[in-house]
């Protein structure tokens, strides 16, 4: 339904709406001068390094999942592209719906033991 171009058109439309809303609704805050040296000093911060390691690993996990899991579903269960799309939609919905709870838990208990 809609062909290959439809998801790209929907994403483009959503981005255009997002851009328009950001331009009109977000208030400007005081700008901070952040030279490259500040970036390098942040990179030397141990907690930033720890967070970066976790982000690298989680992006590896997710990047592995996105192209290979649909292939696995198709081969192991004969899932159609529509079913695979529905599964990813439901899981993204769950991610979005549980995000406030996750935020609350992290704020309550902190990012983890030191």
């Amino acid at each position: 339904m809609g062909g290959d171009a439809l998801p790209l058109l929907v994403a483009g439309g959503a981005l255009a709406v997002d851009g328009a809303l950001r331009f009109t609704m977000l208030t400007d805050r005081a700008r901070v001068r952040a030279p490259i040296s500040r970036l390098s000093s942040l990179l030397r911060d141990r907690s930033v390094q720890a967070a970066a390691v976790v982000v690298v690993l989680s992006s590896i996990g997710w990047s592995l999942l996105e192209p290979l899991f649909p292939n696995h579903l198709e081969r192991a269960m004969g899932a159609s592209p529509a079913t695979i799309g529905l599964l990813f939609t439901i899981s993204s919905l769950a991610y979005g719906l549980t995000a406030p709870l996750v935020g609350k838990v992290v704020d309550r208990f902190g990012p983890g033991p030191r």
């Binding site: 005081a30 901070v32 001068r33 952040a34 500040r38 970036l39 000093s41 942040l42 990179l43 030397r44 911060d45 141990r46 907690s47 930033v48 390094q49 720890a50 967070a51 970066a52 390691v53 976790v54 982000v55 690298v56 690993l57 989680s58 992006s59 590896i60 996990g61 997710w62 990047s63 592995l64 999942l65 192209p67 290979l68 899991f69 292939n71 696995h72 579903l73 192991a76 269960m77 899932a79 079913t83 599964l87 990813f88 439901i90 899981s91 993204s92 769950a94 991610y95 549980t98 995000a99 996750v102 935020g103 838990v105 992290v106 704020d107 902190g110 990012p111 983890g112 033991p113 030191r114």
Partner: protein, 130 residues
């Protein structure tokens, strides 16, 4: 962050277990929730690092987040094309889970050095930008 790592490491290999689409969907939801517990604390950690330095350089620290994400994606794209034909999907997922668990001690060392009050790394000593 520790809970997120353990949850992600535990749920990722489960993706190859289900034999029905419904169960696969349930496991995928669990992976997504674990992903939230993994990623959300990293943003907290990054923002706290900026707060410690009083630099207000939030965009710079989120640039580091994006760089780290891109590095992971690039590494995966390279390895999965090389490994996908050699090993099964389940083995690849188990490998990522193993890497997550192996990183726990490293993260503990890195984060303990911040929590010890030793100025919290270089950002804590950066000058105030205002």
């Amino acid at each position: 962050m520790t809970f997120g790592i353990i949850a992600m490491a535990a749920t990722l290999p489960l993706l190859v277990v289900p034999r029905t689409v419904v169960m696969a969907g349930v496991v995928l939801v669990l992976v997504d929730v674990a992903f939230g517990f993994l990623m959300n604390p990293t943003l907290d950690e990054l923002a706290t690092a900026v707060d410690r330095g009083h630099t207000g350089a939030y965009a710079s620290v989120y640039a580091i987040f994006n760089m780290a994400y891109a590095i992971g994606t690039i590494g995966t794209t390279f390895t999965e094309t090389a490994l996908a034909s050699l090993v099964s999907f389940g083995v690849l997922l188990a490998g990522v889970s193993g890497a997550l668990i192996l990183c726990l001690p490293l993260l503990r060392v890195l984060r303990r050095s911040v929590g010890g009050g030793a100025a919290g790394g270089a950002a804590a000593t950066a000058p105030v930008a205002h």
